[in-house]
């Protein structure tokens, strides 16, 4: 076993970005993710990379767009209000089929809200907070190790599918420290980036754009994007199942909530309740099949989120017709993180 480091979730993301070959970072400070730019402002210069603290989140996402158009691996990070500001840029990147990793260590809202852990940006992330009906890859780590591993995966998926990829975390997974094995970047076969701008030289002109004005052109483009999303969905959905084999009630939860729920499930098992966990790791593509398959047998789902009900819609859209989907949500804010004890109670209530 390689050495286990002891690392903060946010720093794990920064470390993984470097391991994944990312040398360009553009960001604007915001709690609770500032550890990421702080780490990279120290490390990137040593690696001949570029760290820019931009004038805003909007500038950051557009610097990312520019850097990504040249073919390099690049990243930005922010938290909820800042991510809202990036929505136009994300839509442009999706439209121009640009890879690029966006980290949202989300906080509680709406508006200025607070800085506590929240999952209320689920819809924004997976349904497209920006205009025009696109999708981006959305990964939801629930441990420091996953903060690291999924960041590397985000870079790979972004390059493989030529689309932005988001890490959606919160202050629980961002601020906590856990043992980390700093895995090497996976050996992924990546497509050649034959679309990047580089100065045409004696070759063909290349244009990175999302404007399509010819008759039928934009529709065809959108249909191609849609096909890509379907492919992504078929190939890349990831999830974790825990004690589902004999479960009579399965908890659906992602990220930090899934961690809290896990303890509650262990407690329930100790009390003899057959409870399991289905944790989506990719929020987009959503693991629909996993829910469909599971609910062919287990008909009771308890969806738990740090919001007033968002992922639960995707769960409902995925389960077997005769499955019951219950919801328990804690909208976020100071002092509002649910405890395992509290979730155990909910489990018992719906068991």
């Amino acid at each position: 076993m390689s050495k286990r480091l002891f690392v903060k979730g946010n720093e794990a993301i920064a470390m993984a970005a470097i391991e994944a070959g990312c040398r360009y970072y553009f960001g604007y400070p915001i709690t609770p993710q500032s550890d990421i730019p702080e780490y990279l402002s120290r490390e990137l210069p040593k690696l001949n990379g570029e760290f820019i603290q931009a004038e805003s989140e909007i500038a950051s996402i557009n610097m990312l767009l520019g850097a990504s158009a040249t073919g390099v691996r690049a990243m930005t990070s922010s938290s909820s209000p800042g991510i809202s500001l990036k929505q136009e840029g994300i839509s442009y990147m999706a439209g121009a089929e640009l890879p690029g990793v966006i980290v949202n260590i989300s906080r509680s809202g709406p508006g200025l809200g607070g800085i506590d852990a929240s999952q209320a940006d689920y819809f924004q992330s997976v349904k497209g907070g920006g205009h025009g009906g696109y999708h981006i890859v959305v990964l939801a780590p629930s441990s420091v190790q996953e903060m690291y591993d999924l960041t590397m995966l985000a870079f790979d998926l972004a390059d493989l599918y030529r689309m932005p990829a988001m890490i959606l975390g919160d202050s629980v997974v961002g601020q906590m420290k856990e043992p980390l094995i700093a895995n090497k970047r996976p050996q992924t076969e990546l497509p050649v980036k034959d679309w990047v701008v580089r100065g045409k030289g004696v070759g063909e002109q290349r244009v990175v754009k999302s404007l399509f004005l010819g008759d039928g052109e934009l529709e065809a483009h959108n249909n191609r994007l849609h096909d890509k999303y379907m492919l992504l969905s078929a190939r890349e959905a990831r999830w974790e199942e825990f004690e589902t084999a004999d479960a009579e009630l399965v908890v659906a939860a992602f990220g930090s909530t899934a961690r809290i729920a896990k303890t509650a499930i262990m407690q329930a098992r100790q009390e003899g309740l057959k409870v399991g966990l289905l944790r989506p790791i990719t929020l987009y593509p959503f693991p629909q099949r996993a829910f469909a398959d599971l609910t062919r047998r287990c008909k009771r789902i308890l969806d738990i989120e740090l919001n007033n009900g968002q992922m639960v819609e995707d769960v409902r859209l995925s389960v077997a017709r005769d499955a019951e989907v219950h919801f328990y949500g804690r909208p976020p804010g100071a002092g509002s993180l649910p405890t395992p004890e509290e979730l155990l109670e909910q489990i018992k209530k719906h068991y």
Binding site: E50, I52, E55, I58, A59, G66, A69, Y92, V197, G199
Partner: protein, 247 residues
């Protein structure tokens, strides 16, 4: 006979979508000539903005990245930092650069990004149908200032060349016009000088080009052209505002 005027190599041989008498065409050509002069076409990455010049890639035979409205300087920053060996310029209208993109141009300029910015000031939003721009002259009627720009409510037209000159990161800034041969030949000179800054790695260079928009000014091309040299140049004084390098 010798050909004394020809189409620059960097400019594609196609019809543009610009209206008759629109100076965008002229400014495009001057930029292409500068590209030819410095031999940078093959390593140029142009950053197109949103406005009448959005089809940059249709006219320049170079690689192009399209930026969201106003964000070209940020996109160019990303491009240039990732590919410092490329020649990077943005081409932006006055709505794009002086309104929605104010923060991006100021900070790219302040950082002294090694890029060239071509700023086309036609005192209106051309592409969207002639609304008031930050550069619209006081009293000028536009589709959103039907009673004329009112300085008390709308403020005075903003002078970007002068404003940017204040920033240390700006190495070169000039305002030019292409409304008559004399101004045009000077414009050509200043655009080349701006390019030279980048070619020699001397920092951020900025050209503000006054431009006619006959369509949205509701004028014929000749009258529009005259307005450029008249009330426009009276308010937006032509000249070199900053020139920090010795070549």
């Amino acid at each position: 006979m010798q050909q004394v005027f020809k189409r620059p190599v960097s400019l594609k041989d196609v019809q543009t979508h610009f209206c008759p008498g629109c100076h965008h065409g002229t400014i495009h050509r001057l930029v292409a000539e500068a590209m030819d002069e410095f031999g940078v076409q093959q390593r140029t990455i142009g950053v197109a903005s949103v406005g009448c010049s959005v089809f940059l890639y249709g006219y320049f035979d170079i690689d192009v990245v399209e930026a969201p409205h106003g964000r070209a300087p940020a996109v160019a920053t990303g491009v240039k930092r990732a590919r410092p060996d490329s020649f990077v310029f943005t081409y932006q209208g006055d709505g794009d650069l002086a309104a929605i993109g104010t923060a991006e141009i100021i900070h790219a300029a302040n950082r002294g990004e090694d890029i060239t910015v071509i700023f086309v000031n036609n005192t209106t939003y051309g592409m969207t149908g002639g609304q008031m721009a930050p550069t619209t002259l006081v009293g000028q009627k536009t589709s959103t200032s039907p009673y004329g720009r009112n300085q008390a409510k709308d403020g005075a037209p903003i002078r970007m060349a002068e404003l940017l000159t204040q920033l240390e990161g700006v190495a070169f800034a000039a305002r030019v016009a292409v409304n008559n041969p004399r101004n045009l030949l000077d414009a050509k000179k200043q655009i080349k000088r701006a390019f030279r800054y980048q070619v020699e790695g001397k920092g951020f260079s900025f050209i503000e080009a006054l431009s006619a928009c006959p369509t949205n000014w509701g004028m014929n091309p000749i009258a529009a052209n005259e307005r450029v040299g008249g009330e426009m140049a009276d308010y937006f004084k032509l000249g070199v505002y900053k020139d920090t390098a010795e070549f």
